[in-house]
Amino acid sequence: MSVYGPVVKIHPVVLASIGDSYERRNEGASRVIGTLLGTIDKHSVEVTNCFSVPHNESEDEVAVDMEFAKNMYELHKRVSPSEVIIGWYATGFDITEHSVLIHEYYSREATNPIHLTVDTALQSGKMNIRAYVSAQMGVPGKTVGVMFTPLSVRYVYYDTERIGVDLLQRTRVTPSRTKGLTSDLSQVASSASRVQDMLATVLSYIEDVLSGKVTADNSVGRFLMDLVNKVPTISAEDFETMLNSNINDLLMVTYLSNLTQAQIALNEKLRLRPTHYTAIHIYHC
C-alpha cells in the first residue's frame, strides 16, 4: 500500500462541482458525498474531476448508492480513460463515524483513498478545504481504529484554466455577480491597467524603503533589478525598424482581410441577381 507524499493537487473545477452539488442537495440532507477522480503519480495525487453520489444518512445508519457510483464511473471513463477513482469527498466540517464506513467502501475501489472535506457551511468563518488519508492505529488484535492524517492541499491550474478562473474571479466584484465577456482592445486595456496597478504597488514599496519606513530586503531588491533589466536596451533606430516592420505586417493583413470581406460581399450581391437568362425570346414566325 503506497503512502502518498503529503500533497494533494486540486483543480478548480472540482471545487466548483462540489459547491454546485451541495446547493442542489435533497431536502433534509445535511451533507453531500461524491467520488473523486484523478491521476496518481509518484509524489502526489492530482484531482481533476468529481461527481456526486446520492446517499441517505440518519443517526444510526448510512446508505450509499453504490450502483450509481459504479455506473457514473463507467460513463466518465469513456470520456477520459486516464482518470481513476482516487477517493471521495464530503461537505461539512468534521469527520463522523459514518465517514469511516464510507471510507472503507472506497478503500475497496482504490488503494489508499483520499478523503476531502469541504466546509460549505462556513463553520469557522472560512471555507476549510482539507484532505485526509486513513491509517490504521491502535493495538493489533485488540482495539483497532482508523486515524485520518491530514495532507496538504494545493491548487493547480492548466494555463487556460487560470484564465477562466481569472474571469470568474471578476464576477465576485459586481453586485449581481454577473460578468459579460469583453473583446478586442478593451481586454488589452484592462490587462495593461492591471500591470499598472502592480507597478504602483512596487513603486510605493520602493518609496517606503527609500524613506526608511521599511527595511530593505535583498531578495526583493534582486527581483526589482531583474524587472528593470527586462526592458531590453536596443538602439533607437533598430527598435524603429522592428516596430515599423511589425506594424506594416499587421496593417497588410488587416487590408487583405478587409479586401476578402468586400470580395465575398460582392459575390453575394451578384449571386442574388438572376442566375440565367430565363426570359424566352419572343420571336415572330
Binding site: P12, V13, A16, G19, D20, S21, Y22, R24, R25, N26, T48, P54, D65, F68, N71, L75, R78, V79, T120, M127, Y157, Y158, T160, E161, R162, I163, G164, V165, L167, L168, T171, R172, S176, R177, T178, K179, L181, T182, D184, L185, Q187, V188, V195, T233, A236, F239, L243, D249, L250, V253, T254, S257, T260, Q261, I264, E268, T275, Y277, Y283, C285
Partner: protein
C-alpha cells in the same frame, strides 16, 4: 430562484417539445462558472491539435434568458463506436444526473474550434436538428487557442429563422436560396453571454485566490504574433481557394445553361422556318417535338456550400482583424515603454 418554465423534451427520443416553449427566441445566455471550467478542462485533457471535442449543455429557460447550469462531455469518436452508443451514453448520463438533482434538460451543445473554423455542414446539420427539437438551443463555440492567448473566448450561436426555413425544405438550389434572400451574414446570430456565479461559488473563488500564487504568465500582453497570423492566413487562403473553385463551377454551369438556351432558340427558329416552308409547299408540318427532352438542362450546383464557405471566410477575417488590432495596441505600448527608456 425565479419561476421557471420547463420545456420537457429530449433530443434523442425525437419527441416534439411539449407545452411551455417560448415563442420569442433567446436574448441572452447565462452560464455558470462551473460550465466554463468543465469545458476548458475537457478540451485541455482530451483535445489534441485540431480535433474537436464536443459535449452537451444542460439547463433551463427563464423568461428570455437561457441558463446553462451544467454540461457533460462526449467521448471521442473511435472506429468501433456505433452510433447508438452515443444515444445510450447520453440517456444514461441524463438519468444519472437527474438522481443528483442536476438539471437534466438539453439546451444545446458545445464544441471546440481550431482557429475559428467551425462553419461547416456538420455543425449546420447538428444545430438544425437541435433547434428543430428544442427551440431555444444554442451551440457554444470555445476557442482554446484564443483563450490561451489571454482571454476566454466563448461564443454562442443560433441559426436565424430564415436559415431554419431553408434547412427544413432542403431546397439548396440557387432559386431556392434567392427566394429566401439569405446572405452569409444572416446565417448565424450570436447571442450575448453573461457569466454568473452563486454565492457559494464566489466564496470558493475567494478561497482559491487566497491560497494560490499570483499568476506569473500574462499571456495577453505577449508581443509575438507571427505564428498565430501565419496559421490564420493559411486557413483563410485554403478557404478562398475553395471559394474560387466553387465560383468557377458555378460560372461553367451558368455558361452551359445560357448556351443551351441559345441552342434551344435556334432549334425552335429553324423549326418554324421549316414549317413555314413546308406550308408554302403544301406539305404537312413537322410534328412539334418535345424540346425539354432534347435539351436536358444541366444540374444546378448546390449553393449551400458556397454560403458556408463565405460565412467561414467572414469569420476568419473578423478574427484576424481583432487579433491585429490587439497586437497593434500592444506594439504601441511597447514603443511607449522603449521611448521612455531612451
Amino acid at each position: 430562484m425565479a419561476s421557471r418554465k420547463e420545456s420537457g423534451s429530449t433530443l434523442s427520443a425525437g419527441m416534439s417539445s411539449s407545452g411551455g416553449t417560448l415563442d420569442s427566441p433567446v436574448k441572452q445566455i447565462q452560464i455558470e462558472g462551473l460550465v466554463v471550467l468543465k469545458i476548458i478542462k475537457h478540451y485541455q485533457e482530451e483535445g489534441q491539435g485540431s480535433e474537436v471535442v464536443q459535449g452537451v449543455l444542460l439547463g433551463l429557460v427563464v423568461e428570455d434568458r437561457l441558463e446553462i447550469t451544467n454540461c457533460f462531455p462526449f467521448p471521442q469518436h473511435t472506429e468501433d463506436d456505433a452510433d447508438f452508443d452515443e444515444v445510450q451514453y447520453q440517456m444514461e448520463m441524463m438519468r444519472s444526473l437527474r438522481h443528483v438533482n442536476i438539471d437534466h434538460l438539453h439546451v444545446g451543445w458545445y464544441q471546440s474550434t481550431y482557429y475559428g473554423s467551425f462553419v461547416s455542414r456538420a455543425l449546420l446539420d447538428s444545430q438544425f436538428s437541435y433547434q428543430h427539437a428544442i427551440e431555444e438551443s444554442v451551440v457554444l463555440i470555445y476557442d482554446p487557442i484564443k483563450t490561451a492567448q489571454g482571454s476566454l473566448s466563448l461564443k454562442a450561436y443560433r441559426l436565424t429563422p430564415k436559415l431554419m426555413e431553408i434547412c427544413k425544405e432542403k431546397d439548396f438550389t440557387p432559386e431556392g436560396l434567392k427566394k429566401a434572400n439569405i446572405g452569409f451574414e444572416h446565417m448565424f446570430e450570436e447571442v450575448p453571454i453573461v457569466i454568473k456565479n452563486s454565492h457559494l461559488i464566489s466564496v470558493l473563488m475567494w478561497e482559491l485566490e487566497d491560497k494560490s500564487t499570483v499568476a506569473d504568465k500574462h499571456e495577453l500582453l505577449n508581443l509575438s504574433s507571427s505564428n498565430h497570423l501565419e496559421k490564420s492566413l493559411q486557413l483563410l487562403m485554403d478557404r478562398v481557394d475553395d471559394m474560387s473553385q466553387d465560383i468557377v463551377k458555378y460560372n461553367t454551369y451558368s455558361r452551359n445553361l445560357s448556351k443551351q438556351q441559345q441552342q434551344k432558340h435556334q432549334y425552335l427558329q429553324r423549326r418554324q422556318q421549316e414549317n413555314a416552308q413546308r406550308q408554302s409547299r403544301g406539305e404537312p408540318p413537322l410534328p412539334e417535338e418535345d424540346i425539354t427532352k432534347m435539351f436536358k438542362p444541366p444540374q444546378p450546383p448546390p449553393r449551400m456550400d458556397t454560403l458556408l464557405i463565405a460565412g467561414q471566410i467572414n469569420n476568419y477575417c473578423q478574427n484576424v482583424k481583432e487579433f491585429t488590432s490587439q497586437t497593434l495596441g500592444k506594439l504601441f505600448m511597447a514603443e511607449a515603454l522603449q521611448g521612455h527608456n531612451n
